[in-house]
Symmetry: C2
Subunit: 220 residues, 2 copies
């Protein structure tokens, strides 16, 4: 089978290389199954920081957003190197031996430098992407940003040109001799689900909840 | 209310400081509600790397484990600085304005240096902690590591002495004028749940699945 090669040496999956996948379709599908990522970078003070944040994907790039006062965004807008990692846990892999226990997961790592989005129309587009990535259709259903709100929000864009995926699926792989042991083995699936929406205590009565929008996208 | 002060300036939550919490009880409870963390550090080549990995908590420290061939563990065992972040997403906070949308979450950040565990009994203890953190009771139910497997496994320990939690709960906080808008607002809870266990295709018939162990611990 022809496989997409890694885009750089640092994106190449070294441990268990068979789990590596550099096909943009795989990478995009994983990013679209979650909205949470962890962004790591070197703080101006010199230590490494890992911050959880939401993102939105738009073709071959992701948008990050947040307060213009955010330390993370202010550090990243200067074009420093970052590593963005998004991970979905799909199940516990319970083996017969402690040693062969594992986790089924899908993860994506992206290396690169984020650029601040300054053009106002492009900034609104970035915010729309993030908003609809988290809650499809939500952008059009809510009050749009005022000029003041837009000014207080920073939007960064990161290309997916240096990205890799790593995926584990399937049952445990036990030592041959261990298959005879009287120990239960298999996979316990894990999924993230939405619960019953909790209306704002100040919600005006009679407004229907946007169930179709939210039911349409589940992790896992 | 007396609050635990931050253990260092870099652990102090700067953005929205009211969300910061340095009480070990809060930090431990968040770490106990998940087993996935993201570890960031500077790779020997100079760039920042963020790797998803499992962990286990034991009092005021966490254990990490993995293959002795793991690049991450081999980098970290030399005592380089790391940042370990664990995040639970508890819900989408849907506001009436795009601007006030948010996410309910609990996260923990730990700074420090991990130490390799070399003593064999302590290494087994660390593996037991990780194993039981992921799947309570699983350690005693499975075949213990052979000397060879133990040798092939690296265990690192990281103190929780420089840690912070950040938590958001509750409904959206909209602009006063927006409460009159005919837009649904509230929180859509998100939880991670376990599905029906999938027996290993090679499972010896008649072995009951360890339901009580797995049903006892859910995220969220």
């Amino acid at each position: 089978m022809d496989r997409t090669p890694p885009p750089s040496s640092r994106t190449q999956v070294k441990r268990l290389p068979a789990r590596g996948d550099y096909d943009p379709a795989t990478i995009h599908a994983i990013l679209d199954a979650t909205f949470l990522c962890h962004v790591g970078f070197q703080a101006p003070e010199g230590h490494t920081v890992v911050i959880p944040t939401a993102f939105g994907r738009d073709g071959g790039r992701v948008f990050l957003h947040g307060s213009a006062a955010s330390h993370m965004l202010r550090s990243l807008r200067d074009g420093i190197e970052l590593c963005l990692t998004a991970t979905l846990v799909d199940g516990l892999v319970l083996a017969r031996s402690v040693f062969h226990h594992s986790i089924n997961y899908r993860s994506v790592m992206v290396y690169g430098r984020a650029q601040p989005v300054v053009d106002e129309a492009e900034k609104l587009h970035g915010l729309e992407v993030v908003s609809n990535h988290i809650a499809p259709g939500r952008w059009a259903a809510t009050r749009q940003p005022s000029p003041q709100e837009l000014k207080a929000t920073m939007v960064l864009v990161l290309p997916l040109s240096e990205a890799s995926a790593k995926v584990r699926t399937g049952p445990p792989g036990d030592e041959e001799a261990d298959y005879a042991l009287p120990i239960w083995a298999g996979v316990v699936p894990m999924t993230t689900v939405y619960g019953t929406p909790q209306p704002d205590p100040r919600l005006t009565p009679g407004i229907p909840q946007p169930v179709p929008l939210l039911g349409s996208r589940l992790q896992g």
